[in-house]
Amino acid sequence: MAKVLMKGNEAIGEAAIRAGCVHFFGYPITPQSEVPEYLAKRLPEVGGKFVQAESEVAASNMIYGAAGVGMRVLTTSSSPGISLMAEAMSYIAACELPVVVVNIMRGGPGLGGILPAQGDYLQATKGMGHGDFDLIVLAPSSVQEAVDLTIKAFELAEKYRNPVMVIGDGMIGQMMEPVSFPDVEIGPPLKPGDWALTGCVNRKPRIITSLYLDAMDLHNHNVHLKKKFAVITEHEQRHEAYNCDGEYDVLVTAFGMMARMCKTAIDTLAAEGIQVGLFRPISLKPFPYEACKNAMLKGKRVLDVEMNMGQMIEDVKLAGLGARQIDFFGRAGGVIPSVEEVMNEIRACHAKAKEKNP
């Protein structure tokens, strides 16, 4: 299809439709409101349902209901709204329902601000809710990638019966870029397996529950979930290594829009003769530890850059396990680090790398 210029939020909405998701339940919040607004127009055109929920708590339980009856479904929100979905996400993961949730992050904590940030990394990847469960978390760094990963999210959610979160900062929701969509109007409907509540015609009733009164049953269910995620971890790690083919002293680690802004810094530095590698996890979870470690080991020192106070750095540390020193540069609350600032930080890191390893 030809390219169109679209806001990230709208493109995500359209991508869901192309992925065959024609049902949306959600609640307005800046900077994600263009998703519901776009879908309020579009979904009736494609025979789907748009429902403005009374809250994010309700929205997250509505997608539980829709997925449970075997329908492909989407909700989107931004940081405070995502927090309100914590309980439902735990239920959805426990019940192994395929849903896609998009978080267009804004500055936090609390009400924070409405400008772009990346402060929900740890929430998404470690502590989204109570109990042991894992989301698949994908972080696009362009509008086109937001489209591609949204489509991928539905595929993964259904393949593994696991909730998937697409996480981007407000910039990705608000900016316009040229995008192209796959050439289908609406993807095929979800083919629910033997778990969906479709009416017990000619079969025994089915149950969707996360209650296991017998501790051993619940333990076994937990083991099952972990095993499933081990498979996901094996097969679904995604990352981009930029400028990593040649030699470099400094490896920058960053995700989402921040990573892309680092690329500009890296290109500019290359012109100055400083080669810098960039490791960008695309799947924040499963985090590509191995690939990250390899990229780290090629260089001498690491600079982790995030639009928060240092969250992904824990995973970078877990990847490197002390093998390399890791510096951190972060701006929170909607302050977007400029390319110049990033370059300065890289230069400083580079100097330290040279110092230690002359």
Binding site: K49, E54, Y64, V69, A88, T198, I207, I208, T209
Partner: protein
């Protein structure tokens, strides 16, 4: 011999975990019977709440969800909107529906979601051990109102059927009781009407069912029946409060 009252195919044969005499079982049976009588069992999806009836999914002989505490109406909304061909019912207790789930039930009712809510009002939190519910009666003792519910501190009990009735969106709203056979006969008719409205796709349908909790009331089932009649029924009058034909919206109801 002809069976004039048989175990309904709307329920599984599993014995329930409910306390002896608990009318959750009576209400279950009525719903089960109605599913069979209306021929909808195979296209019905039920939603169990968090509360004593959390395990209801084991007892209803149809596809079942277990919802998070209070959010069954949202779950039902998600399910029914995307699969309008299914019959959806939620089964919720008074803590679940009238306390934590207040926003969800009001908004589902107000959007006119086309499912059926069976609201079991037993004036207490059964499952967690007898704490105060929004429907607990004045002076009634509970583990969180050890001296009896004081309306000056906790307010008066909430009448959900009446509250929902004031919404303009068309709906079927009623209150019945399950505590005696005679009341159950009436109750079943009303619940059936609710399901029929849903079948016709008319409106949101809601039946509040008064129910006993011998265990947490600290009474025998028989004493519980008397307590329900004496304390609850005057405050929670039975009846059909609203039918879809009867809009309460005045002129605006016709928009």
């Amino acid at each position: 011999m002809k069976k004039v009252f048989a175990f309904t195919d709307g329920l599984t044969r599993l014995p329930t975990h409910y306390c002896p005499g608990c009318t959750h079982g009576v209400i279950h049976r009525m719903i089960g019977e109605i599913m069979v009588e209306l021929g909808i069992r195979e296209r019905t999806v039920g939603i169990a709440p968090v509360g004593c009836s959390v395990l209801a999914y084991k007892y209803f002989n149809c596809d079942m969800f277990e919802a998070s505490h209070g959010r069954a109406p949202a779950v039902a909304t998600g399910a029914k909107r995307t699969r309008p061909d299914l019959m959806l019912f939620t089964y919720q207790g008074d803590g679940d529906l009238a306390s934590i789930g207040m926003a969800e039930i009001i908004h589902a009712a107000n959007r006119g979601e086309k499912f059926t809510t069976i609201f079991v009002n037993n004036a207490i939190y059964g499952m967690t051990g007898g704490q105060m519910a929004p429907t607990t009666m004045p002076r009634q003792r509970s583990t969180t109102t050890p001296a009896g519910r004081d309306p000056a501190e906790c307010g008066f009990p909430i009448r959900m059927a009446e509250l929902l009735t004031t919404l303009t969106t068309p709906a079927f709203i009623a209150r019945v009781s399950s505590h005696t056979a005679a009341q159950s006969v009436r109750a079943k008719k009303v619940i059936k009407e609710a399901f029929e409205h849903q079948m016709a796709g008319t409106c949101f349908t809601f039946v509040e069912v008064l129910s006993i909790c011998p265990t947490n009331w600290g009474l025998s089932p028989k004493e519980s029946n008397r307590w329900l009649e004496r304390e609850m029924m005057p405050y929670y009058p039975l009846g059909v409060f609203k039918r879809p034909q009867e809009s309460t919206g005045g002129d605006h109801g016709k928009h």
